[in-house]
Point group: C2
């Protein structure tokens, strides 16, 4: 047995989560059984989709349970192994974040090489975050060279990569929206052709000014007014990849909805929701391309790191408030 801490769901939030949504609990972690490893987490991811799992609704992943630990992407070091192929000291990527120690089936852990790339990148630019951007843009939205792309929450981990991948793949123009002037500047630094702060007036007007000739692809992380604005400027046969709708996750009232969906008909638009889990077949291709871009210094990525498991709830709340630049991570131990 090992003593450790975990973050549990204390209660289901209505609207915005608060510190009281979480509780930090001391637990005794059992020893690993045959085929298992005990892992000490060193890094964990907080992601917008976790908000949805706090609700008691049937969805693509089971909801978090009140009084049980949260979970999510994490990197840990193997402490004890009863599994072939994993040894103490190995670093592994797995799904049991939000806790100091985790006991895992070896099959649920993937070894990662800290000499090949910084550990954090396996959660971010080379991990689920990067694959989400890559698959959403290239597979779901079927982006083609010469097209114009708009991405919302473009200073976030996924959105930022969407814009940069689009440029590397030959986009004519890439436009991003973000939530502050500093973020807008950052988008321009990493190669966005235009960017705007969505607080500066109506999104529709800002987008029209930033993409006067229209767009071909909208990568949606926000929903609501952003989606409505995008539908307004999408060109014939345009596509929307719906990755997230963070503007709605904490709504207690029915959210704002695009009132111009009839545009789908005349413009023959396609709006498609997706989960990265359906696009695992692209992983090898993605890792190959992304690792090359990183080596050549052609992709830049931001990380916002918070220290200490006890601060993970605050990191998550900050993410929902948009306080991160790039990938939001919590460093443990």
């Amino acid at each position: 047995m090992t003593d450790g801490r975990e973050i549990q769901l204390a209660s289901r939030p209505t609207g915005w989560p608060t510190p009281e949504t979480f509780s930090l609990v001391e637990v005794r972690v059992p020893d690993p059984g045959p085929g298992q490893v005990l892992v000490r987490n060193v890094l964990m991811s907080v992601d917008p989709y976790m908000r949805g799992r706090m609700n008691d609704v049937k969805s693509y992943v089971p909801p978090f349970q009140v009084g049980a630990p949260l979970d999510g992407g994490a990197i840990g070091e193997v402490v004890t192994s009863r599994a072939d192929g994993l040894r103490p000291g190995d670093m592994v990527l797995h799904g049991l974040g939000w806790r100091d120690y985790a006991v895992l089936d070896a099959a649920s852990a993937r070894r990662v090489d800290p000499d090949l790339a910084p550990l954090s990148t396996y959660l971010g630019v080379l991990g689920m975050t990067g694959l989400t951007a890559y698959a959403g843009l290239l597979d779901v939205a079927a982006f083609r060279p010469g097209e114009t792309v708009f991405v919302s929450a473009a200073a976030g981990a996924v959105g930022n990569l969407v814009g940069q991948i689009a440029k590397l793949k030959g986009a004519a123009r890439v436009v991003g929206s973000a939530g502050s002037a500093a973020k807008v500047r950052r988008l321009e630094e990493v190669g966005f052709d235009a960017a705007f702060d969505y607080h500066d007036g109506a999104v529709a007007g800002s987008l029209r000014a930033a993409a006067p000739d229209g767009i071909d692809v909208y990568f949606d992380n926000v929903g609501g007014d952003h989606l409505e604005a995008a539908l307004g400027v999408l060109r014939t046969h345009g596509r929307v990849a719906v990755c997230g709708m963070i503007s709605q996750y904490n709504s207690t009232e029915p959210p704002a909805a695009p009132r111009n969906l009839a545009l789908l008909i005349g413009k023959r638009l396609t709006v498609r929701g997706f989960l990265v889990s359906d696009h695992g077949h692209l992983r090898d291709q993605f890792v190959g391309e992304m690792a090359g871009w990183l080596r050549e210094g052609r992709i830049r990525y931001d990380e916002t790191v918070v220290d200490g498991l006890e601060n993970a709830p605050e990191a998550f709340l900050g993410l929902l408030r948009g306080e991160n630049l790039g990938k939001m991570l919590v460093r443990l131990g």
Copy 2:
């Protein structure tokens, strides 16, 4: 020169069109030039999409012009021909309805055979209407045998065929909505597994009762609450083919919009607008299959026929009010 009448757009409607939206005007029709024919129309189609063309907005087809005749699908008899390959007495399908006589380039007219099928079917079940249903279901929504299909405005010309084609292609269950008890009965007669009157309570509840195990495909002719209800019951990887949103065509206020679009993500839904004009490559395959079904008596189609060009405006207004069963046609001359 030939004397005839045509229906012109008298003024652009705001909200619902009225009889004053139209004017019946006596005109002199010029003689056909080289390569042209003079056609006397015998049958014309009124379609919901024509409402959109009454607005002065840029869209996939140019708007109707005030003081100029409306146009749309029609069948006429060649009276005078100055074109090779077309002779007086030939019946042709063309795009200059809403008038007694039309002068056409021969290339804009397609000869049809009244011995092969009733003339009206070239505008309806074997024409654009049928192809819209066929392409929308099979190509846009990628329907597969064993799936459950929901179609709105199912007593209308397109919706009715969507349901019947789905059954013929192996649908597990086909559900339709319509605007009266008589229409609901008609849907059951032609093979829908379940149907409901959308006036009977909220669409979401009616649909859930009619499709308790969910749906895979929604063929949207209505938009608004119908689309919201469909998103609610669509299964993972479900598809929506958006053919029309008739609930919105006469709105003077921003229309009701589905507030549950975030479901697109977890359920990985695809919503795709389409125009039949993009699916001409399916025409031969469609005509072959549909003609076979008609010969075998496996497809039934309804027509609502109004007599006289002077009554075409009322036929169109009746269509918008949902007074038709099946294809709405105007018989001329």
